[in-house]
């Protein structure tokens, strides 16, 4: 008879305190509740579960190769002799093909995993074997050979991607509620939907490479090593914020992480990014700069000026257009004659990437880094989408339909994609992923609580950091002493 071998139990983890506990006890130790009716129910449930298990097991493996009598030796750790006992009873059922359809089998695969998890108390053992993932779409290239669609990754990376993206999503949604509670004021541009760009890019580079972006910078800040506390405190204008409360949502910076902000004026960060690349070339660093901008900023003149200079001097600058298809309220086709932003560089090669697929982003960024270090600038266009409006004051539905938003959310959501990959490769169960999300939610809530406790900046902080050396508003007062401006 086919029996569950050790490998099948490898990916099962210990679960505690759930409704399957009593069944488990019965299966493992033969314990039944006192009440006869309950006991009967218990036995029936146990039978049902094991029946399904073996049906699916039959679908998955070639039954004829397994000998029924192998059951005794395959207990493994935390062995389940009762399974074999039941299986011997049900032997005549085993070769009956299941009537369920493939989708139901898939559903029951999940059930199988759940039950195996309860049945066997084995710990998780993640292999470090590389996994190859195919990107969702092939890359479209302009004046360059596109990289391959297969991306090497590892289980660790997949789970990290999931966690990071879920954290970013949760942070943005929490920021949404904080804004509505009037704890965050002014402008708040949220990045949910676009997390794959941040996470994929981080995976391809190190923190000596520089990233500079516009105002939609919360998640990139996290990716570059910023903490949740710094982010929330800055959003709420507190002292513990990354810019000491003086920058706000649009001015997150992290010097040690190589994150250069956080800029409010559309497009002005691209020449700055080329300047960072210039400095890298000047110091012969072998690092690159990613200058991110949006589809709205792609029509700015200074972008083309900067691109010209970067191409002229072979600066290691990578211009990344995060094309979420709407420049505030204007759709890309209404603002640009040629919305193929990756081609806009003309003599500069370009690559169009599915920005909702973290692996495509990772592959493209890796490829771009190699290219930029050898040949100069390259443009990446990330085809992505934001679920929120342009900022918190924009409902986001006046220029696009809700169907469009929900359609993208269903079909292309970056976190869902990773979740499916994780589940397909048996790296975690649904429940584990849900638990991770719960943990993240708790983490975010704690960070918000801590940020709320952080004090507002002192009035004297008004005048600090205007100049280096801590000059006040006037460097020298009338008596040659440092005069700081006097608050009324």
């Amino acid at each position: 008879m086919p029996s569950a071998t050790e490998e099948d139990f490898m990916y099962a983890i210990e679960e505690a305190g759930d409704w399957r506990e009593p069944i488990l006890c019965y299966l493992q130790r033969g314990e039944l509740p006192r009440d006869k009716v309950e006991a009967g129910r218990m036995q029936y449930k146990a039978w049902r579960r094991t029946k399904y298990e073996f049906e699916i097991h039959h679908l998955k493996q070639d039954v004829s190769t397994q000998s029924v009598d192998n059951g005794g030796s395959s207990s493994g750790d935390g062995g389940d002799c009762s399974l074999e006992k039941n299986s011997r009873k049900r032997r005549h059922n085993l070769r009956r093909p299941s009537k369920s359809t493939a989708s139901m089998a898939a559903h029951r695969t999940t059930a199988l995993h759940k039950t195996l998890a309860t049945a066997v108390l084995a710990t998780r053992h993640l292999s470090t074997a590389a996994i190859t993932v195919e990107t969702s779409l092939p890359f479209t290239a302009h004046k360059i050979d596109p990289p391959s669609r297969s991306v090497e990754t590892s289980p660790q990376e997949l789970l990290t991607f999931f966690r990071d993206m879920a954290l970013m999503r949760r942070m943005e949604i929490a920021a949404d509620s904080l804004y509505k509670a009037k704890l965050i004021r002014g402008f708040c541009h949220l990045y949910d939907g676009q997390e794959a760009v941040a996470v994929g890019m981080e995976a391809a580079i190190n923190n000596k490479d520089c990233i500079i972006t516009a105002y939609r910078d919360h998640c990139l800040f996290l990716g570059r090593g910023g903490t949740l506390l710094e982010a929330f405190a800055e959003l709420m204008g507190r002292k513990d914020g990354c810019s000491k409360g003086k920058g706000g949502s649009m001015h997150f910076y992290k010097k040690e992480g190589g994150f250069y902000g956080g800029h409010g004026i559309v497009g002005a960060q691209v020449p700055l990014g080329c300047g960072l690349a210039f400095a890298q070339k000047y110091s012969k660093d072998e690092n690159v700069t990613f200058a991110l901008y949006g589809d709205g900023a792609a029509n700015q003149g200074q972008l083309f000026e900067a691109l010209n200079m970067a191409a002229l001097w072979d600066l290691p600058a990578i211009l990344v257009c995060e094309n979420n298809h709407y420049g505030m309220g204007t759709a890309e086709w209404r603002a640009a004659k040629s919305p193929a932003y990756y081609k806009r560089g003309d003599y500069v090669p370009g690559l169009k990437v599915d920005g909702m697929d973290a692996f495509a982003v990772k592959q493209a960024c890796k490829f771009a880094k190699e290219h930029a270090l050898k040949n100069g600038p390259i443009i990446l266009e990330m085809d992505t989408y934001r679920y929120h409006g342009h900022s918190m004051s924009d409902p986001g539905s006046t220029y696009r339909t809700r169907d469009e938003i929900s359609g993208v959310r269903q079909e292309r959501d970056p976190i869902e994609r990773i979740r499916k990959l994780v589940l397909a490769h048996d790296l975690a169960t649904e429940k584990e992923l849900k638990d991770t999300e719960k943990e993240i939610r708790k983490e975010v809530d704690e960070a918000i609580a801590k940020a709320k406790e952080s004090p507002l900046p002192d009035p004297s902080d008004l005048f600090t950091n205007v100049y280096v050396k801590g000059y006040g508003v006037e460097a020298f007062g009338a008596d040659r002493k440092e005069l700081r401006g006097v608050l009324p």
């Binding site: 520089c210 300047g275 400095a279 200074q302 020298f476």
Partner: protein
């Protein structure tokens, strides 16, 4: 009178060194004889029928208004310490010394490399330091200023040369929003040690767009410092100080001052960015000025001395922040202030300085501050009109006389 004019013109040409660009110095039109045609509306509202050509001496001095130092240096130069050079050479010396000293210093601008700079300030640097350190940029002020700021964020110390200060208007967004603000909005994480320099001011019939005096446009940007140089000595010192400063500094030079000759020390020296220079100590009135107007004021001072007045002339040099200490001491001594500047009347440096002095030293003033600035007009091309756009020595003399009554 005609002889005086020719003499004046002759003197001007003799003084300018062999330099093709200087041709604009020598072509001076003769001044009209009619009295009362041009009038000066001073900031206190009174009209003076300016330019009464009674005094030929005034006339000649007027023509010489730009380079007066030459008159003093008649003695042989060989025996004195230091070396003689022109202002643009002094700038270059300062720049070169700083580039030697610190490998992170680099220059970027239009035609600074192979061409040597449109005013020869960077001549010879590109062959010496390479194309990356003395970078010829395309004509894209906004983005190369942005590039300089981005490079400064990582630790380089770029010097941006604007071919003319008026072109920096194109880079205003980068200067105002990024350069001035990044140190503050990043909570002190990044410093921007960039120097933006270039010539500005009214030249010789360069037309409205190339004769901009826009020190005042930048003065309200928080986070930047502004200095204006006027002599080879302070040009070199301020250039070095600006490069060494960790703050963004805008160094204003003047198109007509590049060929000033002066003897400067051989030793290395760095001037203080926030300090004003006492040009001529005096008792009766404080005249505050900067850049080219210093020379007009010195001309006027000669006349005033002959008339018996004792003006104290201070070249404020630091336009942001003002050196209120030196100015304050002067005001406390003389109790009268005249500000002479080339900036526009409305919202100019003089206007801020007037407000500042009134705020701090009101009790020490015996009379309202007189501010002579250039007219609120685009600089016309015609020579005579152009002269009337800026403040001329006779006007300064008249203002001081009126103030000291």
């Amino acid at each position: 009178m005609a002889a005086a004019i020719t003499q004046g013109v002759g003197a001007t040409t003799a003084l300018s060194s062999a330099n093709s660009k200087k041709s604009r110095f020598s072509s001076r039109k003769s001044l009209p004889d009619r009295k009362g045609t041009f009038f000066v509306v001073r900031c206190d509202g009174s009209l003076t029928s300016g330019f009464n050509l009674r005094d030929s001496r005034n006339h000649r001095l007027y023509a010489n208004a730009v380079a007066t130092k030459q008159d003093d240096k008649t003695a042989s130069t060989a025996s004195k310490p230091g070396h003689e050079l022109l202002l643009f050479e002094a700038l270059r010396e300062g720049l070169e010394e700083e580039m030697e000293r610190d490998p992170r210093v680099c220059v970027m601008g239009e035609d600074v490399g192979h061409y040597g700079g449109s005013y020869k300030v960077t001549k010879g640097l590109a062959p010496k330091y390479g194309d990356l350190r003395v970078l010829d940029t395309p004509i894209a002020e906004n983005s190369f200023t942005g590039m300089a700021i981005g490079a400064a964020m990582t630790g380089l110390r770029p010097i941006v040369e604007g071919m003319n200060m008026g072109f920096l208007l194109l880079a205003f967004n980068q200067i105002s929003n990024n350069c001035g603000m990044l140190h503050y909005t990043s909570g002190g994480q990044f410093k921007i040690p960039v120097v933006i320099r270039g010539p500005g001011g009214v030249g010789r019939q360069l037309g409205a767009e190339h004769s901009q005096r826009l020190e005042s446009y930048f003065q309200s940007i928080p986070g930047i410092q502004m200095v204006a140089c006027s002599t080879p000595y302070n040009a070199k010192g301020l250039m070095k100080a600006a490069i060494r400063s960790d703050n963004p500094v805008i160094l204003f030079e003047h198109v007509l001052l590049y060929n000033l000759k002066e003897r400067i020390p051989d030793e290395e020296y760095v001037l203080n960015l926030e300090e004003a220079e006492m040009v001529r100590p005096g008792e009766h009135v404080t005249i505050l000025t900067y850049s080219r107007m210093r020379y007009h004021v010195m001309q006027a001072a000669k006349t005033l001395v002959n008339k018996g007045y004792d003006p104290e002339v201070i070249d404020i040099r630091s336009l942001k922040p003002f050196d209120l200490y030196t100015i304050g001491n002067s005001v406390k001594k003389t109790h009268r202030v005249v500000i002479v500047e080339e900036c526009m009347r409305t919202g100019g440096i003089g206007a801020s300085l007037t407000a500042s002095i009134n705020e701090h030293f009101h009790d020490y003033l015996d009379a309202p501050i007189v501010c002579l600035s250039s007219q609120d007009v685009p600089t016309p091309y015609a020579g005579t009109l152009e002269e009337w756009t800026v403040v001329q020595p006779p006007q300064i003399v008249a203002a001081v006389e009126q103030l000291c009554q």
